[in-house]
């Protein structure tokens, strides 16, 4: 379905005066079972349909259903939306919807001073307060003095709204999230039509549930209208974003990677994409999405383990398809030996790592960028692969395409780094014309004349892709060192030197086939350069923008290519007196830059499982320029 949003009209037709805001951060927080992710997603769609720019941050626990009412069972969904260019999910929350005491307790640290709290008083029972670790009810003492608190008995209001539908108490209580959504939609002057339609579809098999949830939604919305008259609530209106014209949809990093891979498959002119994967948080949704794409030539394979998953992808590439595998850090560790095989036999392969906090199992649902060393260095032997990283959810599309291009052109594994934040974060996306994107057909050898399986193209240093089934090209490959040219097993020392050099040169040579590194923001020379990679793009860029507005000499360089680095990176870095590298790890890119270019780069490192705040980066800029 498609909606045209005129940019200047007020869709609500509301008579009441509303406070105009440039951007707002709203956080829905509740128990894992309270439906916060669904509520947040629906609010996101209504916001996107209203023509605003936005970024979302789903923040949920690893446990599917942690004990009810506990702080570690809190599931939250944060959305930052506005008329300005929204680059992060927001440093501080303006409006917090707290469905229980635990949600309040966990979210309070990120609430801006003076921010609004909508709390469901009906859930602030003695038992729930105790579970959240409150000795006394914070709604009744001075705990929340710095904030604007709106205590509402959402539980009771929901129960009365759905009375008469014959729901069980449990079912009735599960409508609380729709009541809260209705209130928030009213608060930001949104229409209910899309949500009503969505509820009808979602509960198509149980009309009563559709009706009762809709009743709760309308009740929440209506409550805003009437309560406003009594002066308890203030409505806000966020101006429309100044987005370029065209057709939009929202897209998460996961969705963008899926579309990027499929689009890359087309551009490479290949018929099949074989996606071998094994379930792991937060990478599994990529497998789920691709499993529905058979009509596009996608064959998904849920393997028995991470090793079989990557091996199936390697086998598929050997067979002439595009082999892709995905995982997160611990799974990538298991795939390591097979990545080495793919390097040795020189087959195309895309390896997606949706990074999460480590080491070991770490924090499965929390984001981190600590697998950079693993991607670039983490194998036995001299085993170089190309490594790319996506900066934003939308960027995942282009980077996935680029991974396919490099893998097929250079006959090499390419590691594509995303992370848990990008995977789930949604952005509005001006949908490109996919038919107009550049094609780069992959070449598969068919000519037996003079065929040598390990003869390398003088330009790309790639060997021919000779696919089983092709007459006259029968040959043997394997992980034992191969003689250059023939590919026969070779223990010859000079040959091993030459083949090692060739594998290194092949990846290094990719630097000549990628764009020169430019600044993402600021001048190409100056006092301070912030060098980032991956999902830290938003906070770094915003902090640099603000610093430049204050007159500070700061630029933002953001790397997509982490191996090899762009050819001009050394000279670009040379133009700055100081280099600061913000990363969600203990200092990996900063170490690579220092060792590679002998520059005095310093790190800004954070591993809290949460994205950087703009203020974190801003303080570091101030400190660096002191």
């Amino acid at each position: 379905m498609s909606t045209t949003v005129p940019k200047t009209t007020d869709p609500s037709g509301s008579q009441q005066a509303r406070e105009i805001r440039e951007s707002v951060v709203v956080r829905f927080a509740g128990d894992s079972g309270d439906g916060m992710q669904m509520t947040g997603s629906q609010f996101t769609i209504e916001t996107a349909l209203a023509g605003l720019d936005l970024t979302t941050f789903p923040d949920y626990p690893a446990e599917i259903r942690a004990p009810v009412g506990t702080t570690f069972g809190v599931s939250a969904f944060q959305i930052h939306f506005g008329s300005v260019d929204v680059k992060t999910a927001g440093d501080e929350v303006d409006v917090l919807i707290a469905m229980n005491p635990a949600a309040l307790k966990v979210s309070l640290a990120n609430l801006s001073l003076g921010g609004t709290i909508v709390a469901d008083t009906g859930s602030f029972s003695e038992r729930n307060l105790l579970k959240a670790g409150y000795d006394a009810n914070p709604l009744e003492d001075d705990t929340l003095a710095p904030y604007q608190v709106i205590p509402l008995d959402i539980t009771r209001l929901t129960m009365s709204a759905v009375e008469g539908f014959g729901l069980s108490k449990k079912e009735a209580l599960r409508c609380r999230n729709m009541w809260a959504l209705g209130l928030m939609l009213w608060m930001y002057d949104r229409d209910l039509t899309a949500t009503t339609a969505w509820l009808t579809k979602k509960f198509a098999s149980r009309e009563t549930l559709a009706q009762s949830n809709n009743a709760a939604l309308i009740a929440g919305h209506a409550y805003g209208e009437t309560a406003e008259l009594s002066g308890n609530l203030v409505g806000y209106r966020v101006k429309d974003a100044d987005l370029p014209p065209g057709q939009y949809r929202t897209i998460t990093g996961t969705e963008a990677i899926v579309w990027g891979l499929v689009s890359g498959l087309r551009s490479a002119g290949l018929e099949r994409l074989v996606f071998g994967s094994y379930p792991i948080t937060p990478a599994s949704p990529v497998l789920h999405a691709l499993a529905k794409m058979r009509e596009l030539g996608v064959y998904t394979f849920q393997a028995e383990d991470e090793i079989a998953a990557i091996c199936s992808a390697i086998g598929a590439s050997y067979g002439g398809a595009l082999g892709v595998t995905s995982s997160s850090g611990p799974g990538i560790a298991l795939k390591t030996e097979a990545i080495g095989l793919a390097v040795s036999v020189e087959l195309p392969l895309v390896i997606l790592n949706v990074q999460r906090a480590g080491p070991s199992t770490g924090l499965p649902t929390k984001t981190e960028q600590s697998d950079l060393f693993q991607a670039v260095y983490g194998r036995n032997g001299d085993t170089p692969v190309a490594v790319l990283a996506a900066a934003t959810s939308i960027d995942c599309f282009d980077v996935a395409r680029e991974a396919v291009r490099l893998a097929t052109k250079y006959m090499t594994p390419v590691i594509l780094l995303s992370d848990g934040y990008l995977a789930n974060a949604a952005e509005p996306w001006l949908i490109p014309d996919l038919d107009a994107l550049e094609d780069w057909p992959a070449r598969q050898r068919t000519d037996p004349e003079g065929f040598q399986p390990f003869e390398h193209d003088p330009e790309t240093l790639a060997r021919p892709w000779a696919v089983p089934g092709t007459p006259g090209l029968m040959h043997r490959i394997g992980g034992i060192e191969k003689e250059q040219g023939s590919g026969h097993i070779s223990y010859d020392s000079a040959n091993h030197q030459a083949m090692t050099d060739l594998r290194v040169a092949k990846i290094a040579n990719i630097a000549n086939d990628i764009p020169e590194q430019d600044v993402a923001l600021g001048d190409r020379t100056g006092t301070l350069a912030l060098v980032g990679w991956g999902s830290t793009f938003g906070p770094i860029n915003k902090a640099v923008e603000q610093a430049r507005e204050r007159g500070q000499s700061v630029s933002h360089i953001h790397l997509r290519y982490l191996n090899p680095f762009p050819a001009n990176l050394a000279s670009l870095l040379d133009g700055f007196e100081k280099i600061l590298v913000p990363e969600m790890n203990a200092g990996q890119l900063v170490t690579m830059l220092r060792s590679r270019y002998l520059v005095p780069a310093k790190g800004l490192n954070k591993v809290t499982g949460q994205p950087f705040k703009i203020s974190d980066v801003a303080s570091a800029i101030d400190a660096a320029l002191e």
Partner: protein, 336 residues
């Protein structure tokens, strides 16, 4: 794709130009010859034939074939072969593995490739020892096997490859001896004809680290009394005079070795082999000399749809699918 068979290929046409580097007297030589002969007899197209192996002595096999070949990593050949078949289900793919490669480090993959019923011939060379790493015990080594890692004799029970395969849901399970070329070719031919995962265990002698471990039934002089070659629909008889056989033990779900003409046993008491009977296959697979003969041949063959057939049934790529349409098959809005 055009397939060209210029003329009937001979076994030697399936040999590569590489020097074979197994130890002198290794059973692998006999298996190599038998497979080359099988392919020639079956008139397969070399360009459509692929040998995928893991790591170990047996896994060097693909280098000695003139077909396509992929010597992969330890234990992982089933995963590579599965991906290969997903890319191109028309290929004729053989997986070559050993007792260490297939049942130890790659045990998990073997279970799953069998249960999925991927259309492959999986040939496991069982020599009950690690050869390439110089003679350590393997998961099929008998209790008491002395090796560098078990100087006082191994203490862990060996597993039965046939029982593992049947347990994993394999639909074709067979067994043969490396040097019995005629019978081995029969078994390989049946495995090739079976659509789905065909599991073939070959007793393979390692003359260096585990010489004559199968002597009790491979010794030619005693073979008639220690080997039983099954045939579907034929009685389970063996012995120099053909008067020995296997019958159901009265009053128990078990079998016993009997002699026709002794203790009132007649020909009618002897079980008839039914290759679609999984319970019987399981019983026959566990019999060992000296009380029983070693049972060889196709123990189980009961085909169902292969993995490839099921994948194909899920649908294929559409010819005129527009990415531009599909990517917009969600909520969209237009900024004027």
């Amino acid at each position: 794709m055009t397939t060209t068979i210029p003329q009937q290929l001979k076994p030697k046409d399936f040999a590569s130009d590489q020097e074979v580097r197994w130890c002198p007297g290794c059973g692998d030589y006999a298996i190599l010859k038998a497979i080359q002969k099988t392919l020639a007899e079956l008139e397969v197209a070399p360009e459509r034939t692929v040998f995928v192996s893991g790591i170990g002595c047996s896994s060097r096999f693909p280098y000695y074939m003139s077909t396509y070949g992929f010597h992969t990593i330890h234990g992982r050949a089933p995963g590579i072969a599965t991906g290969l078949k997903l890319a191109n289900p028309d290929l004729d793919v053989w997986v070559i593995t050993g007792d260490g490669d297939g049942l130890s480090i790659g045990g998990n993959h073997l279970l799953h490739v069998l249960r999925r019923n991927v259309d492959l011939q999986i040939v496991l060379f069982n020599n009950e020892i690690y050869g390439l790493t110089k003679g350590q015990v393997s998961p099929t080594s008998r209790i008491g096997t002395k090796s560098p890692t078990s100087p006082q004799g191994s203490i862990a029970h060996p597993l039965s490859p046939v029982a593992v395969a049947l347990g994993a849901g394999a639909r074709f399970v067979a067994r043969a001896i490396d040097i019995d070329q005629k019978h081995l070719i029969e078994v390989l031919t049946a495995a090739h004809a079976h659509r789905g995962a065909s599991f073939v265990e070959i007793f393979q002698n390692c003359p260096v680290y585990n010489d004559d471990v199968f002597h009790d039934f491979t010794d030619r002089a005693n073979a008639p009394d220690t080997q039983l070659h099954v045939e579907h629909g034929k009685p389970l008889r063996y012995g120099k005079d053909g008067n020995r056989g296997i019958r159901l033990k009265p009053g128990a779900l078990d079998v016993e070795a009997v002699v026709i003409g002794q203790n009132g046993i007649t020909e009618d008491d002897i079980l008839v082999h039914d290759q679609t009977n999984k319970t019987l296959a399981g019983l026959l697979g566990t019999l060992r000399p000296p009380e029983f003969p070693e049972v060889l041949g196709v123990l189980y063959n009961d085909p169902i749809d292969s993995y490839e057939m099921q994948v194909a049934a899920l649908g294929a790529a559409g010819n005129d699918v527009s990415l531009n349409d599909l990517i917009r098959k969600t909520r969209t809005w237009t900024v004027a």
